[in-house]
């Protein structure tokens, strides 16, 4: 903790001298409270932009005869956005377009005026896909170092950040073990760590709690809640309870269309009941929601 405070101060001085623009303004660290218990803490830098905005305008994705995403327009500011919808609703397609790995048929995406196709946009992005692979022969540490290099983090900073994140996602003991020996939950935690290694301003999480046990799920939610204070976190899931307690905003998708958007507190009754009511007549949706 002491080291981190010193680091933040150093970054501030450099900025005052005008020699360097500081982009890394929020840090997650592991601290000990007075009782000696470990807790996750996000350290804020007051320079973090208050009015960041991710704007999507009439976003559409069409595959031959099927419209996966249909003219969605949204503005995202800091906070956590829970994106709910049944399988095939278009959540993953929307998220891929937000990550710039799938070109929309029409419409635009921009973060503070920066287009989705640019390197600048990608440098502000953290993404955890729904279903992705690892390099089985890499260790957890190797993998995070590799992802840090891809995200443009210098070697020394990457090593420090890797150590920090491995501890946060409880993989420190397994850091030097090959990923092929990891359980599903461990892999998912590693995936979460890679998504936040660059302190992203836009964090996109597609079914992030899959494979996590209940304890890890709670821990993960707390971490996301902290990150949402300074970033735009878009969390897609069909498990209502994942977003119930942490989302500031709820988005619901069905057949490529946005069927609901609003603040969490606007939904006065139970979110799951609200969700089921929104998709009421569809039994498949009910089954998915109950999973």
């Amino acid at each position: 903790m002491h080291l981190l405070r010193w680091y933040a101060a150093f970054a501030y001085i450099r900025n005052r001298q005008g020699k360097q623009t500081i982009k890394m303004v929020c840090r997650i660290c592991l601290t000990r409270n007075r009782q000696g218990k470990q807790t996750i803490k996000v350290v804020h830098n007051t320079e973090r932009e208050e009015n960041m905005e991710l704007v999507i305008d009439r976003l559409t994705k069409q595959y031959k005869n099927k419209i996966a995403v249909d003219r969605i327009s949204l503005r995202f500011a800091q906070g956590i956005y829970g994106l709910l919808g049944a399988n095939g609703a278009g959540k993953t397609t929307l998220m891929r377009m937000l990550c710039g790995i799938l070109n929309p048929t029409s419409g635009t995406i921009a973060f503070d005026g920066i287009d989705v196709a640019t390197e600048e946009y990608r440098s502000e992005l953290g993404y955890l896909p729904q279903d992705f692979g690892y390099y089985p022969e890499f260790t957890g540490k190797d993998f995070l170092m590799y992802m840090a290099a891809l995200k443009g983090i210098g070697k020394r900073e990457a090593a420090r950040r890797t150590e920090e994140l491995l501890e946060i996602v409880s993989l420190k003991e397994a850091a030097k073990k090959k990923i092929k020996t990891y359980s599903g939950g461990m892999k998912q935690r590693l995936g979460i760590a890679q998504a936040i290694i660059n302190d992203p301003k836009i964090l996109i999480l597609d079914e992030p709690t899959a494979g996590l046990d209940p304890k890890e799920r709670v821990r993960f939610r707390n971490m996301i809640a902290e990150l949402g204070k300074d970033s735009i976190v878009i969390l897609s899931t069909h498990i209502v309870s994942d977003v119930e307690h942490i989302a500031d905003y709820i988005l619901m998708m069905n057949q490529g269309k946005l069927t609901f958007q609003g603040k969490r507190e606007e939904i006065t009754d139970d979110l799951e009941a609200f969700y089921l009511r929104e998709f009421g007549e569809n039994e498949d949706v009910y089954e998915d929601a109950c999973l």
Partner: protein, 414 residues
């Protein structure tokens, strides 16, 4: 960037299949390189010597005669010694006279026979008479005439234009009037189809296609592409890192194969003879003033460039097709086709380009000695001079095309 390149190399080297393929082919290359020293010679079930002993003896005799000008005195000395035995009877190898008086001339004798298009173990030893009968000339004059006839015959086969003939005549003028014998068995082997750069290229091409071709494809098959493509450096820089890693691995593997081949042949036959005129070792009619060692060095450069090209080709193909097996198959099919198919010389440009394929160019007797010239403006280039230019251009086009494909990569379906 260095960090990314390091990780890309690490990914390849951590695979078991990489090491299995490498060791299998490397062992085969090492075996072929040292094969000259393996084995034993028996004549009619009678032990004569091991190949190691044979090579050592021939080397000593060859080195002792190295530096002698192939003039009338020396050629007559060689032929006179060979008149003492009958090479049609295989028992001559066991005779004392062969071992003590004739064997030491085997090197130059073999050279004279190959100049005459004969085989030293089948042709009778009355060549001196044959040559003297040839328009009543002495041995040296008849050899010169023979060379001229061979050269013109090859020119006819290649259907050279007058300008090309003039080019080669100018090269001819730079050659020494008389060639000098030098023992150069190692360099002969290193430029030979069965054991030289050609064979190394065959093996290394398969290995590169297998190992390097997967650098891009792995990301799609493992579904890691969606992670990479949305990172800051995951497009342009990662593409460059992957290409550099693939090219680096191709060159390192080629270097290892080349080194073991060079070492094996040096150990078996000795390093002497680098500066022997290529006409005294192969291509008696060839007009370029090159030593056999220089030919080997040129082929080495071509070998490394070819490896680079194969590496780039397989990487870009696997990215374009999203299928490693398909890209492997295309490279394999290309190598097999180049090896099996000969384009008629009458299809001039097509057959010239066909000879520019690495596998054909590294076959010294085919592509390297192709006498037809490529013209670029006023510049005339032989096949071995023009082909690297083509390869570099093709490589550059492939790299740019691959970058275009990779950087526009999309994650669909799944």
């Amino acid at each position: 960037m260095r960090l990314l390149i390091g990780f890309e190399i690490k990914k390849v080297l951590q695979k078991k299949s990489t090491w299995i393929a490498f060791f299998l082919l490397f062992a085969l290359q090492a075996f072929m390189a040292f094969a000259g020293n393996l084995g034993t010679t028996y004549v009619n079930d009678t032990f004569l010597e091991t190949h190691r002993e044979r090579n050592a003896t021939d080397r000593n005799y060859g080195v002792a005669l190295s530096g002698r000008v192939m003039d009338e005195v020396f050629i007559e000395e060689v032929l006179a010694a060979n008149e003492k035995i009958d090479r049609n009877d295989s028992d001559y190898l066991l005779s004392d006279i062969y071992q003590s008086e004739v064997r030491k001339y085997d090197g130059p004798y073999g050279m004279i026979c190959s100049w005459m298009g004969g085989n030293p173990y089948r042709v009778s030893a009355d060549m001196a008479q044959q040559m003297q009968d040839l328009r009543g000339l002495d041995i040296v004059q008849s050899l010169e005439l023979l060379r001229k006839l061979q050269r013109e015959s090859v020119w006819e086969q290649f259907r050279l234009s007058d300008a090309e003939k003039e080019y080669w005549m100018q090269k001819e003028e730079k050659l020494p009037g008389q060639f000098t014998y030098q023992y150069a068995d190692a360099w002969d082997m290193l430029t030979d189809m069965s054991s030289g750069s050609y064979m190394t290229h065959m093996m290394i091409a398969f290995l590169i296609a297998f190992i390097v071709g997967n650098i891009f494809m792995e990301e799609h098959s493992r579904k890691t592409d969606q992670l990479l493509l949305c990172t800051k450096n995951g497009r342009q820089k990662l593409y460059a890192a992957k290409i550099i890693a693939g090219c680096g691995l191709s060159l390192i593997m080629t270097l290892l194969f080349w080194l073991v081949n060079l070492m094996g042949n040096m150990i078996c036959f000795g390093p002497e003879g680098f500066s022997a005129a290529v006409q005294t070792v192969k291509g008696f009619w060839y007009s370029y003033d090159l030593s056999v060692g220089e030919v080997f060095l040129i082929e080495t450069g071509l070998l490394f460039l070819a490896s680079l090209l194969i590496g780039i080709l397989t990487m870009v193909l696997s990215e374009a097709l999203h299928n490693h097996i398909a890209s492997l198959s295309i490279v394999f099919a290309g190598i097999v086709a180049a090896r099996l198919v000969t384009i008629p010389l009458s299809w001039r440009m097509f057959s010239m380009l066909w000879n520019c394929l690495p596998i054909n160019l590294l076959k010294t007797d085919q592509g390297f000695f192709d006498l037809r010239l490529f013209g670029f403006g006023g510049l005339r280039m032989t096949t071995w001079q023009a082909a690297p230019v083509f390869w570099l251009l093709i490589g550059a086009v492939l790299v740019v095309a691959g970058r275009f494909l990779y950087c526009r990569g999309q994650i669909k379906g799944r």
